[in-house]
Every structure is written in C-alpha cells, then in structure tokens.
C-alpha cells in the first residue's frame, strides 16, 4: 500500500474528474426529469464539440476563446436539433426506446468523428492548464479547479433555478406529469427545447474540460458518459445534489485506487460497482423503477 503522501496528487486528479462527471450527470438528470430521455449521446456531443474547437484553433487559426464557445454552442445546437427532430415522435414511447434512440445519435456522431478526424494523436490544452501552482509536492492547475467548481456551481444554480423561476417550475411540473402540465397551458415543446439546449451546452462544456483532463479521443470521450450515468443512477435520476456527490466520489475512488497496483487494473469498474452497491442499498425496502409515473 503506498504512503499517504503518494495518494495526494491522485486526490486532485480525482476531484477534477469527479467535478466533470457531476456536471455531465446533472445535465443528464435535468434532461431526463423534463423530457423522459436518458441521453446516452451526452459524451459524443461533447467530444464532437471539442474536436470542432480543436479544428477551429489548429486548422483555421480562430482565437481559442471563440473556438471554445463554439464547442459549447455546438453541444447546445446539436442537442436542440435532436430534441426537435426526435423528441415529438418519441414522446409517447417507453423510456428505454428513448434512451436507445440517443445511442443512435451517439453512433452517428462517433462515426462522423472517425470519418472527419481519423484516429491520429491530437491534444487540446486549455490555457488555464498552464496556470498552476504547487501545494507541497502536488501540482494543481486551474483547469482542475474550474472542473470541480463548475460541477458544484452548475448543480447549485440548477437546483435554485428549478425552485425559484417560472420555467424551473414548469420543468418540475413536466417531470411530475406531462399531460396535466400541458393541460394547464404550459408550452411543453418550448420547455423541452430549452432543456435540450441547456443540457447540450453542459455536454459541450464537459467535453471541453474532459478533452483537456483525459485526452482528445472520440471513443474515450464518448464512453466517459458511463461514469456520469452511474452518478445519475446513484441519484436515481432525481436528486441533483446526490448526483454531484456521486460524481465526485466516483472520480475520487477511481483515482485513489490507481496507485494500489494489486487492484489498479480493475479501477475502470468503479462506476459500475458504486452504482450497483448504491442501488442495492437504496432498494433494500422498495422496488426501483426508472419508468416515469403518471404518463
């Protein structure tokens, strides 16, 4: 077992990744609660945004800040387009069908990324990564700080937004009962479209951060959605705060296991193990269903 000192840099790394998992998880939960869609294309949307940003900077010489905005904007727009095109026809279908449809979007984006950018080695380093300082022997850079802070801030801001604004109330009402909400005069399509837009923007931001923290690789970024999904499942696709905490715990455990060589090879199981344990614990007195009630 390594000494405590050796674990310290892994804590920083784990907190940063955990922050982004939380950010993605919150985006998924809000979208699910409003539209009933578990968006498994969340990672692919962010990945494609990051690749576009890379091309704009490295091929077309765009200013970095503008390219990063395009990344976030791409996530928002592609999600909105998907929501407009696929949302209405799938509105009455089972949640499983809706989730499977997003796998289709993920595969289209993954294929497009392979076609456009191939699998050559690329890197996207945010300027904030070069701003760093050391605490003892541990280096901390500002991208890591931003990753964690953004996860926390987005969770708190979203929770406040849902409670204190009219649109938030409409979204919560949709989460409870789509038909009654529509009957009450809430513009369901518009509320759903806004949710897709915001959730997509979060996917873009998460993709940007992960392409720096993990690497600019289409498959990796696409399948990192698994960790975020685990965080959302631990929160039973309801609580934003639990999603935040679960995301951070997944990131931390994953990183802290790394220097323990005997179990290091199994650390990719972390999200599955934690999700399974949490769901078993939560279901000890009840039956869990992800199907929406009162459709």
């Amino acid at each position: 077992m390594p000494e405590w000192q050796n674990f310290q840099p892994f804590i920083v790394s784990g907190l940063a990744l955990g922050g982004v998992y939380s950010l993605s998880g919150v985006g998924m939960v809000v979208l699910y609660r409003t539209t009933g869609v578990l968006n498994l294309a969340f990672g692919a949307v962010g990945a494609m945004g990051a690749f576009i940003a890379w091309s704009l900077v490295n091929t077309y010489g765009w200013p970095e800040a503008l390219a990063y905005l395009v990344c976030v904007g791409f996530g928002a727009v592609i999600s909105l387009v998907y929501g407009i095109l696929a949302g209405p026809p799938l509105a009455g279908r089972d949640p499983l069908v809706k989730a499977a449809a997003t796998i289709g979007l993920a595969l289209i984006l993954l294929g497009a990324m392979s076609w456009i950018w191939s699998d050559k080695a690329r890197s996207l380093v945010l300027p904030t990564t070069t701003w760093r300082y050391s605490v003892g022997e541990v280096f901390i850079n500002w991208t890591q700080i931003i990753a964690l802070a953004l996860g926390v801030l987005v969770t708190l801001a979203t929770a406040a937004f849902l409670r204190r604004t009219g649109l938030g109330t409409a979204m919560r009402a949709l989460a409870n009962d789509r038909e009654i909400t529509a009957a009450l005069g809430v513009p369901v399509r518009r509320v759903e479209a806004i949710t897709w837009l915001v959730s997509g923007a979060l996917a873009g931001a998460a993709g940007l951060l992960l392409s720096n923290l993990v690497g600019l690789d289409a498959a990796t970024l696409t399948f990192l959605v698994i960790s975020s999904l685990a965080a959302a499942l631990i929160a039973r696709l309801r609580s934003l705060v639990v999603t935040l905490l679960a995301g951070i715990v997944i990131g931390l455990v994953n990183a802290m296991v790394t220097p323990i060589f005997s179990i290091s090879s199994y650390r990719d199981m972390t999200p599955f193990v934690l999700a399974a344990v949490a769901l078993l614990f939560l279901s000890r007195h009840q039956q869990i269903s992800f199907a929406r009630r009162n459709r």
């Binding site: 080695a121 890197s123 690497g215 498959a219």
Partner: protein
C-alpha cells in the same frame, strides 16, 4: 403546416450534413496528378506494362480503431509505379488486398482464397493482429514465403514469415536499451492491458535484469479514461532517476505524456516509447515542452531522411497514394513491395507460385536507406531481419534522430538466435 414541419426537419438535416462535410479539413486533396517528374520504379522504362498480370496478395486488419491497410495500399502504390515503368519484364503486377476483422475463421479463409481461388503467386504486405498465428502453418504447407509487417509472435518465430519491422517486443527492447544508456536507476514498462503483453514484457525484463536494474510492469486499460492518474502512477513507480517505457498507440501515449506535462512530471523521470510513437503527429501534439525528452524507438528511418529509397518513397507516395500519410506504416508497405519486385525481377523462366516463393526466400543483402542494415530471407526456423534500430526524439513538432543505428540486445534469446543465423551466413 405538417408539410412545413417536414421541410424544416429536412433542411436541418441538410445543414448539419453540410457543416460536417465542411469540417472535413483533414482529408488530403483528392487530386493524384501533379506537375512533378514521374518516379522511376522497377525497370524504370517509363512504359506501361501490358502483358499477363502477375498476381500477388495481402491480408490486412481493418476494423474500427485498427486499420493497417495503409501498408498494403502503399505497397500497391509502388506496384502501380512499377507497372507504369515496364512492370516485371513487361508484365504488370496485379495486387489483391483482403481485409479482415480479427476473426480466425475469416483470416484462414482469406489465405485459402488468395492461394487456391485467386491463384496468387506470392503474399506480400500482410499486416494483421492474428494472421501470422492463424496462417503460418498453411503457408508452410503451401510453400509460400510471406513478406509482412509483423505483430503476432508467430511473425518472428516461424520459418515462412519475414517482417520488415521488428514488432512490439523488440521495439520495447530498443526503448529499454535507450533508457539504460540514459543511466536510469529503475525501469517501468507501462502498456495497454490486452492479450500478448506478457510476451512483450519478456524482453524488457531480461534486458533490465542483465543491466542490474529493478523493474515494474504496469498495464492500463485502453482507452485510458484517467490519464493524470496513469501518468502519476508510472512516475511514482519509477521513482527518482527512474525511467518509463510506454507501449501504447499514439493517441493513448499522448494522453499519458500530456497528463505528465500538465502535472509537471515530464522532467521527473526519463521517458521512452516503442515504435508507434514515432510519428510527427505525436511530436506536434506534444509541443516544444517535450523537445528531446521522449526517446522513441524507430524501426525505420525518418520519413524526411535523405537517400535514394527515401526520396523514391516520398515521390511514389505523392504521385500514387497522396491520401496515405508519410509514416512508418507507408514506409513498411514501400519496403515490402520493393523487396517483392527485386524477387520477381530475379525469376528466370516461368512465373509460378513455386518460382516466385523460391525467389522471395532467396532474397539476401537487400539494401535500402529506410532500414539500418540489409534485409534478408533465407532458410531459417525464424526471421527477424530488422534487428538494428534508431532512437528519435520530438523536436519542435517533428521527430529527429537522437541515436543512430544500434543493435537490439542479444539478451533477448530470439535475437541471439538470429545473430547466430546471420553469423553462419
């Protein structure tokens, strides 16, 4: 209203498709013509070969995430150049490329198809994850001598396979030797957690033990999802004055190296990498912070090297295969095709599978400036004709030579056996 809705959706799809196509900036220009002088290959007559084709074949892996077809495609480019220059005594080479998806049944069937149905006279340019393991027995039975780019251990340990590269095990050996020369006190090998890693680390362990240096072997699942932690783990395992050898594909190696840099770890240990890292794309992505800090084992010369073969390679690529990037893969295809053409040129009499394979087997002292020393085939229980390598390092977005040709250590038993075979002539 309904028609309008459909129209809006179709328009959105069209706009998205156009935007995607516009992003496709990576593709090289499609035009294959240019104003440069046509390269002279083979007989160099400048006349198109029009006789009865001589059939050669190849099998390459092509599946999501693993595409080795650049190698036979570059071999085809060279054959096309030969065909435009008189072919083989007026006969063009017809080159059949089959692709496989790591299915042993499919790979075995493709070899039979090429040999028994297509009646190819020789097999050149094979590059597959499993092909050597699956088909070496069949080729031995049929009397086919394969010129390939090796991956599986059987490519380097069976009598009817000779590769132009040296494969991951001996490339890791070369990277390990580089770090030992750098004076490291401990060696760590980090590689992807896939079948075959035990075979690859065998040479690393022997060479480190021979040098009296302690070792640690790490394996990481790919794609790597927590590069910062992987980089930290490797650096901690190596410790002060240690060295880390990476054996990953370029994108995965880049993740680790970039994460090391972000955590200020690029100077904490000495870094080395096996051949896949030898690409200018990696050097460019790493940036100047890594100038001279990553020793990469190079099985072939730099693509920018001087020398008649390197110049011909670039000219053939430019004219016949502009969509294939310059790099070790296309160099391998070029060298394999060059060897095959030399063998075909030496056939006197009728072209049959027997005469062509006999000519391939008899190749010796094939000199090219793309390899460190002459390549050969010959009668032997195993072939590792490329067993002398270079070390390159990134420098301002390019790979440059750090160390000239050096022999891979004979501490690795197969290399020792090959040197004995070479000494015996």
């Amino acid at each position: 209203m309904r028609r309008n809705g459909v129209f809006v959706r179709l328009t959105l799809v069209l706009v998205a498709s156009t935007a995607l196509a516009a992003c496709n900036s990576n593709k090289s220009p499609g035009s294959t013509t240019d104003s440069t002088t046509a390269p002279k290959c083979g007989a160099g007559t400048g006349q198109k070969a029009t006789g009865e084709p001589i059939k050669l074949g190849a099998i390459a892996t092509k599946q999501p995430g693993t595409d080795f077809t650049d190698i036979p495609n570059m071999a085809k480019a060279f054959f096309d150049c030969v065909n435009d220059n008189g072919g083989i005594n007026g006969r063009p080479i017809q080159y059949l490329i089959e692709t496989e998806q790591t299915d042993p049944g499919q790979v075995a069937a493709l070899a039979k198809k090429l040999v028994e149905s297509d009646k190819v006279l020789g097999i050149v340019g094979n590059t597959s994850i499993i092909e050597c393991a699956v088909n070496h027995g069949y080729y031995e039975q049929q009397g086919f001598y394969i010129i390939d780019s090796g991956i599986a251990p059987e490519c380097y340990s069976t009598p009817n396979s000779a590769a132009v590269n040296m494969g991951p095990r001996y490339s890791v050996d070369g990277a390990t030797q580089y770090l030992i020369r750098q004076g490291v006190k401990k060696l760590v090998l980090d590689q992807s957690n896939v079948p075959g890693t035990g075979y690859i680390e065998g040479g690393f362990l022997l060479i480190a033990k021979d040098a009296g240096i302690p070792t640690e072997s790490l394996k990481d699942n790919v794609p790597i999802q927590d590069a910062n932690s992987v980089a930290l783990k490797a650096v901690q395992a190596a410790g002060k004055d240690g060295g880390v050898v990476l054996n990953f594909t370029p994108p995965e190696a880049l993740k680790i190296l970039q994460a090391a840099q972000q955590q200020g770890l690029q100077d904490s240990v000495k870094w080395a990498c096996s051949t896949p890292c030898n690409t200018d794309y990696l050097a460019e992505a790493l940036g100047p912070q890594w100038n001279g800090k990553l020793g990469v084992n190079a099985e072939l010369n730099l693509t920018t090297a001087a020398g008649p073969d390197s110049e011909l390679y670039r000219a053939v690529q430019k004219r016949y295969a502009p969509n294939i990037p310059l790099g070790s893969f296309s160099q391998m295809g070029f060298v394999e095709a060059s060897i095959a053409v030399k063998a075909l040129m030496s056939v006197s009499g009728e072209f049959t599978a027997k005469s062509v394979n006999e000519a391939i087997k008899n190749i010796k002292d094939f000199k090219t400036d793309i390899l460190c020393k002459p390549w050969y085939y010959g009668n032997a229980p195993l072939h590792i004709p490329n067993n002398t390598d270079r070390t390159v390092v990134p420098q301002d977005g390019k790979m440059i030579e750090k160390e000239g040709c050096f022999p891979i250590s004979e501490v690795d038993p197969a290399i020792a056996q090959v040197r004995q075979i070479e000494a015996a002539g």
